[in-house]
């Protein structure tokens, strides 16, 4: 499977924009001595990004299947869980509690077993609890990592 020309142009354009920004910053920031090596990198960066964008624009980008709409649909709920977990829940609810919820949510969302079965909900809860017990043992008791505490642990 190969992605459409437009699909290749979007990431190639984004990388070109990043290369432009890096080049502009490298050549405008002071002191100049601190940016000599970044300038060398940025020159290579912008040449390659331009080449990549030109190849994408001309339909010559043959490598990479892109992201299908079905894949994007499947990823979406998991991505939302990840973002809420990392950027909000871990601090607000506490690291371990948020992790347990994230584990349970991801497991439940992607588990092919129908949601109607009570037995399978119990199984999910037991597996989540067992996994979190192992994580707690490893990180809190063995490695003694101090994690943020929110409303809970």
């Amino acid at each position: 499977m190969n992605a459409s020309r437009l699909q290749h142009i979007i990431p190639a354009g984004a990388i070109f924009a990043l290369a432009m920004t890096v080049t502009w910053l490298s050549f405008t920031q002071e002191p100049a001595e601190a940016f000599v090596f970044p300038r060398i990198i940025s020159i290579a960066f912008i040449i390659l990004a331009s080449w990549n964008l030109a190849r994408a624009g001309l339909g010559m980008a043959r490598v990479g299947g892109g992201l299908s709409s079905a894949e994007a649909r499947h990823i979406f709920p998991g991505l939302i869980v990840m973002l809420i977990y990392v950027f909000f829940a871990a601090k607000a609810l506490g690291f371990y509690f948020a992790s347990a919820i994230a584990f349970f949510a991801v497991y439940s969302i992607y588990d092919p077993v129908p949601f109607s079965s009570v037995k399978d909900w119990v199984k999910r809860i037991v597996i989540t609890a067992a996994f979190m017990a192992v994580i707690y043992g490893l990180f809190a008791l063995v490695l003694q990592v101090q994690t943020p505490r929110g409303l809970l642990i």
Partner: protein
């Protein structure tokens, strides 16, 4: 023979326990599709913080060795390579398993891995001190070019598109420049507070290798992946030992290709296995049997995969240039324990490095023993439900990134890099050159700054970096690595063929 004096450290109770745990755990992780050796080692690094450098390296080294070999289990029994390095093994291994010879295929695979692995580690033992002495002659300009060579080689050879490979390397080099420049006393590219200390290598490695795999699992959706299991009838181990002992040609091709590929900075096991498989078929008296369950195919591919492991550490330990993406992660592990690879590593840390290398030698033997006895069990774990693996890796990635500096900023960087890498991978970019750029960027930057200071006191920047025999050889190698890939990529379209072949194998 200095290494013989450091064998005692491997047999200390904690070290031996870590070696055993790393070997068995690595075999299981390697057999699990979707969990690559690189990701497994990256996720293990935070667990080494509370260990001594020697113990931490023993754990990482054992995991590195056995994940590569463990990937053959799912390749043979499920036709799903546990790692890219095992693609070639799946071709004949699964055909043999379908013919009712699954046990024979597994035994051949582990025995060949063991032979290749031991030869690889012996090369590591004997080549590293030689190269370390040679490396003493290198000045800042040479080391700068060697670091750049590491990025161009992996960018050119490890990617499906050499433009995208080199571009990934550039992105990695740029990311490595973010943070506070201690020499000039100024900030560079700091857009948010989380970036003040720069991008820490461990959260970056976890994000770049673990999160894309989690998202790849998400992308499959709620699919019940009914994996066909193949029965494994018993087979005499002695017959397998005799068969491997007779396969001198396949073993020679596999170990030679693996060792050479390992020594080339950044190339990695996938290429070693496929090249050895191709060469073994070319030199075989029965090339028609390849792909239909031929022992030579398994022996050459698996001996190459593991023969690559030891030599991939030679440029890592002496020049700070990893020989494979997993070795790049291992470099991160060395750095966090305050061990800076280089020509004087055997003078500064002889006990740590020799004990680590010796543990890899013993690890190869343990890998064969445990591999033979746990293969069927590992295959069962390989069928663990995808949602549990995705959720587990996500939580482990979160805890692993946080525990490095106990910083939420690291966790945010990990996730941002991971999501970005997933999207880039979908469009043919590769994580390995980006990681190498990220690791080698500060090294190249420091040597560039040191070289620039020397150049200012001598004849100028151009003369210092672009003249002299060794500089010119290294520049020639940098240009050759790019030129070779340009030739195969643009003129012959080889990389597309490789991609197509990989997809067929998968």
């Amino acid at each position: 023979m200095e290494f013989l004096g450091y064998f005692g450290g491997v047999f200390e109770p904690v070290a031996l326990l870590l070696l055993l745990g790393g070997t068995v755990g690595g075999l299981v992780l390697g057999a699990t599709p979707g969990l690559s050796p690189t990701m497994a080692v990256a996720l293990l690094i935070p667990f080494t913080f509370h260990l001594t450098p020697t113990q931490g390296l023993i754990l990482l080294g054992a995991a590195y060795t056995s994940t590569v070999a463990g990937g053959a289990v799912s390749a043979i029994l499920l036709k799903i390579p546990g790692a890219p390095a095992n693609i070639a093994t799946a071709l004949d291994g699964n055909a043999m398993a379908r013919n009712g010879e699954g046990a024979r295929a597994l035994q051949l695979s582990f025995l060949a891995s063991g032979v290749g692995g031991v030869i690889g580690v012996l090369l590591l033992i004997f080549l590293t001190p030689v190269l370390a002495v040679w490396a003493l002659k290198f000045g800042p300009s040479h080391l700068f070019w060697i670091a750049i060579l590491g990025v161009t080689v992996i960018g050119s050879l490890d990617s499906k598109s050499f433009v995208k490979g080199l571009l990934s390397g550039c992105i990695g080099l740029w990311l490595s420049q973010i943070g506070y420049d201690e020499i000039q006393g100024t900030e560079r590219f700091i857009f948010t507070d989380a970036l003040t200390g720069g991008i820490h290598i461990i959260p970056a490695l976890i994000g770049l290798f673990a999160i894309p795999q989690v998202m790849e699992m998400f992308a499959k959706g709620r699919v019940s992946a009914a994996i066909e299991s193949i029965a494994v009838p018993k087979y005499s181990i002695f017959d397998s030992v005799r068969e491997v002992a007779r396969s001198i040609r396949s073993l020679s091709i596999g170990t030679t290709v693996g060792a050479i590929v390992g020594l080339i900075p950044g190339v990695g096991g996938q290429i070693a296995g496929l090249v050895a498989y191709d060469q073994s078929r070319k030199f075989s008296e029965t090339p028609d049997k390849f792909g239909k369950g031929h022992a030579e195919g398994i022996i050459s591919a698996e001996s190459a995969n593991n023969a690559m492991v030891g030599p991939s550490l030679v440029p890592l330990l002496t020049l700070s240039i990893p020989g494979s993406p997993t070795a790049a992660v291992l470099l991160g592990g060395l750095l966090i324990h305050g061990i800076f690879p280089g020509s004087n590593i055997f003078d500064k840390h002889p006990e740590v490095i020799w004990t680590f290398i010796n543990s890899m030698l013993l690890g190869q033997i343990l890998m064969v023993i445990f591999g033979l006895y746990t293969a069927a069990w590992a295959a069962r774990i390989a069928k663990a439900p995808v949602p549990i693996m995705a959720a587990g890796v996500l939580v482990l990635a979160m805890f692993g990134s946080y525990s490095v500096q106990q910083s939420m900023g690291d966790v945010h960087i990990m996730l941002a890099l991971g999501i970005g890498m997933y999207v880039l991978e979908k469009f043919g970019f590769s994580a390995a050159p980006l990681v190498l750029g990220l690791i080698l960027g500060p090294i190249a930057g420091d040597y560039f700054t040191n070289g620039a200071m020397i150049a200012a006191a001598q004849n100028g920047l151009f003369e210092y970096f672009f003249t002299g025999g060794l500089n010119l050889i290294l520049i020639f190698l940098v240009i050759s690595s790019i030129g070779y890939s340009f030739w195969t990529n643009m003129i012959k379209g080889t990389s597309v063929d490789v991609e197509a072949r990989t997809e067929v194998a998968e």
